[in-house]
């Protein structure tokens, strides 16, 4: 996503262009695998091709799959998987062993768009997983329908609900969600573009891109179980360190799972979980203990400041 929106068609073009690049370079169609098998004739039937890929997977013990771009459904009003989507799936893959050990019963995605993320999560937890149940919501009716197609194309299932964040679920699902994943609309835009009809609601994040994020955080806190984890994509403009501090006040510790800079934006995928120390701090902060907040501030900020100095160093050297 672009960080500054001057006009929509410009943005759409840029988004479309970066989606195109990404799907070719990254999780696209497993071209690399085909290349390494290049003895086989190119002109074979697709079914045979599929079979070979399957064999290849078994042969090289590819431990799990993620959603494949060519099986992801699309619609002009639904957000296509982009760098931010890939970053979130990469974060889930990087954390896969922890996720398997975590044994989530209920997993949830807010803002599922094309279904790329929830499908990948279901595949990552896959066969060895504990038999998790998946729920995904989106405010855009086209998105939930496209997600159902994407899930079906990969042979996995999630329950879909067309709703605003988790409206309708907040009462009965409170405290039950073990893993929540969110790639929210995070682009800074004028406030009146947030939540409007169609594709704009996929990225429009209002002031500092925080409007929807700030609504999601307390809802996530309410829905997550005691052992629950939240993975969320943020942009530098969203002020992720402040988001971490706010979550700290709710008793959550945080860690950057993936940091990625593209030409357009610098993305973090942050993981949040409830933590006894953080809860202790939260209590102390509630009783306005300034030293505790200062200490917390330091610990949260350190991961970001280390990171930003690393970014500026590495950009100097390149």
């Amino acid at each position: 996503m672009a960080t500054k929106v001057s006009n929509f068609s410009d943005l759409i073009q840029r988004v479309a262009a970066s989606c195109h690049d990404s799907s070719q370079n990254r999780h696209g169609d497993e071209e690399d695998e085909n290349e390494t098998e290049s003895e086989s004739e190119e002109s074979e039937e697709q079914a045979k091709d599929e079979e070979d890929k399957e064999k290849y997977r078994v042969l090289y013990k590819m431990p799990f799959r993620i959603a494949q771009i060519r099986l992801v459904s699309s619609h002009p009003e639904v957000y296509e998987p982009c760098d931010d989507s890939f970053a979130l799936v990469d974060a889930l893959m990087a954390d896969r062993n922890n996720l398997l050990e975590h044994q989530p019963t209920l997993c949830m995605e807010v803002g599922c768009g094309s279904g790329y993320i929830i499908t990948s999560l279901a595949l990552i937890l896959g066969q060895e997983g504990p038999g998790s149940h998946y729920i995904a919501t989106d405010i855009n009716p086209h998105a939930v329908w496209i997600t159902s197609e994407t899930l079906a194309a990969h042979g996995v299932h999630a329950e879909l609900i067309n709703t605003d964040i988790a409206l309708g679920l907040e009462k009965r699902l409170a405290g039950l969600v073990d893993v929540m994943v969110v790639n929210p609309p995070y682009v800074p835009t004028p406030e009146d573009e947030v939540g409007c009809e169609g594709i704009a609601s996929a990225w429009a994040g209002g002031e500092n891109g925080r409007s929807v994020i700030d609504k999601i955080l307390p809802i996530a806190d309410n829905l997550l179980s005691d052992k629950g984890w939240l993975y969320m994509v943020t942009l530098t403009a969203n002020n992720p360190s402040e988001i971490c501090l706010q979550m700290r006040e709710r008793g959550y510790a945080s860690r950057i799972v993936i940091q990625r800079s593209t030409e357009e934006e610098s993305l973090h995928v942050i993981k949040f979980w409830q933590d006894l120390d953080a809860q202790e701090d939260a209590k102390q902060m509630a009783t306005t203990n300034k030293t505790a907040s200062a200490r917390v501030m330091e610990s949260v900020l350190s991961q970001f400041s280390l990171l930003s100095s690393w970014i500026s160093n590495s950009s100097h050297s390149s």
Binding site: W145, I161, N162, L167, L169, K171, L176
Partner: protein, 122 residues
């Protein structure tokens, strides 16, 4: 929409104090096979509102569930099979979910409930 989802949904309209359970209006129910997983069922059981679940199952045409259930029944394969079938394999494909207090209907289309509220309901 699975009955598991029905069990997790309630009406959030402004002023509604008890929006659960939503009454089901059936137009079409379908069955889809799901691999049996006893651990998942045991984990889910304590989270299910049993009466709402039994009533929902009856409404969509499945009357095999016991009226009352407690965790000791989780040792019975017969019980687990029925629980599995009703919780995961029966889908409300077309129909509606009706708020028990206001009568507001939330449509279910292609298996997907629409829980969005109008501006004056928030």
């Amino acid at each position: 929409m699975r009955l598991l989802t029905h069990n997790m949904l309630s009406s959030n309209i402004k002023g509604v104090s008890n929006g659960f359970p939503l009454r089901i209006e059936v137009e079409k129910v379908i069955e889809k096979h799901v691999d049996f997983n006893a651990d998942f069922l045991r984990n889910m059981f304590p989270k299910i509102e049993w009466k709402a679940f039994v009533d929902a199952a009856k409404t969509i045409g499945y009357a095999e569930l016991p009226e009352e259930a407690d965790s000791s029944m989780l040792d019975s394969d017969e019980f687990l099979n029925k629980f599995h079938h009703a919780l995961l394999e029966l889908h409300l494909e077309e129909g509606g979910l009706v708020c028990p207090e206001t009568g507001r209907r939330f449509p279910v289309s292609k298996g997907i409930p629409n829980m969005l509220l109008h501006e004056d309901e928030v």
